[in-house]
């Protein structure tokens, strides 16, 4: 199977048509990531997945083939989420609780979403990255463009809130 890096090279040289394969490969991963960050808001997660792929196409020239493509894509998606939250003040607690109850009615297990619904979007993002996707603190700091000590204190504060 052709690697992600080779497809990226083809996209740059021959055109964006080749990017379709990358979207098919990684859309579930990115969508899952966004579902967790948005607390199960499917519409918002779908929008963010699209936005992340569109941004990835525009920034494709800056992709470093030495790094894992999926991680690079996830960083773009996470930053898209943070930008959208800041821009539109979306994703208030009440809005999130509506989605949780809607998902509960569909019979999904919502423990994770419920617990994290009391956190700020940054706290939720960092906890999701650390405990669901096993990011190291230094990687979180680099991807979110934050100070390492800030990341540590956000994790500590979030865990305090969840006690």
């Amino acid at each position: 199977m052709i690697s992600d890096q080779e497809i990226v090279e083809k996209c740059i040289q021959e055109g964006n048509e080749h990017f379709e394969e990358l979207i098919k490969r990684h859309s579930n991963y990115i969508f899952g990531f966004m579902m967790r960050l948005t607390g199960g808001n499917q519409m918002f997660a779908e929008d963010l997945t699209q936005t992340a792929f569109l941004r990835a196409i525009s920034y494709l020239q800056s992709y470093n083939p030495a790094k894992e493509f999926r991680g690079w894509l996830a960083t773009i998606a996470i930053n898209s989420f943070r930008t959208e939250v800041r821009k539109h003040a979306k994703y208030t607690l009440e809005e999130n609780m509506d989605h949780i109850s809607a998902n509960e009615q569909r019979g999904d297990n919502q423990d994770f979403y419920k617990l994290l619904s009391h956190l700020s979007s940054d706290e939720r993002t960092i906890l999701t990255m650390k405990y669901i996707y096993d990011y190291k603190n230094a990687d979180i700091a680099r991807d979110l463009n934050m100070n390492l000590n800030t990341v540590k204190s956000v994790i500590k504060r979030a865990l305090e809130k969840l006690k």
Binding site: I12, N16, E20, K24, N28, F31, Q50, D111, I132
Partner: protein, 114 residues
């Protein structure tokens, strides 16, 4: 430290596999949107031709005013209008054709230079 509730919730969440409804449709939509986006953005070619049109327009401003003033001829006596302004019309069409051709080639040209 994490409490047990959170530990269990995280363990359960890790086992979940989310799926996009239609990845093929998403892939096509995103690629299509990326093409629309790139064609809507302003590039070096656009700026260059904007300057070219401004300079040519400034040099031949009398001709442009004359075309605007006599534009009603295109409805009354179209052949006279075309005959009078044949060369400016041809030059404009050639410039627009070159501009649209280069704009389509835009991304390939810049890939070549990279």
């Amino acid at each position: 430290m994490m409490n047990n509730n959170l530990k269990n919730a995280i363990a359960d969440e890790k086992l979940k596999h989310y799926r996009v409804n239609n990845p093929n449709l998403l892939a096509r939509y995103v690629v299509m949107m990326s093409k629309i986006r790139s064609s809507a953005s302003i590039g070096i070619i656009d700026l260059m031709f904007f300057l070219v049109f401004i300079v040519i327009g400034a040099i031949n401003h009398e001709l442009i005013f004359s075309i605007i003033n006599n534009f009603n001829q295109i409805f009354n006596t179209p052949l006279v209008f075309i005959e009078t302004y044949f060369y400016p019309i041809c030059i404009s069409l050639i410039l627009v054709t070159i501009y649209s051709y280069l704009r389509n080639m835009d991304s390939k040209i810049f890939n070549f230079f990279k």
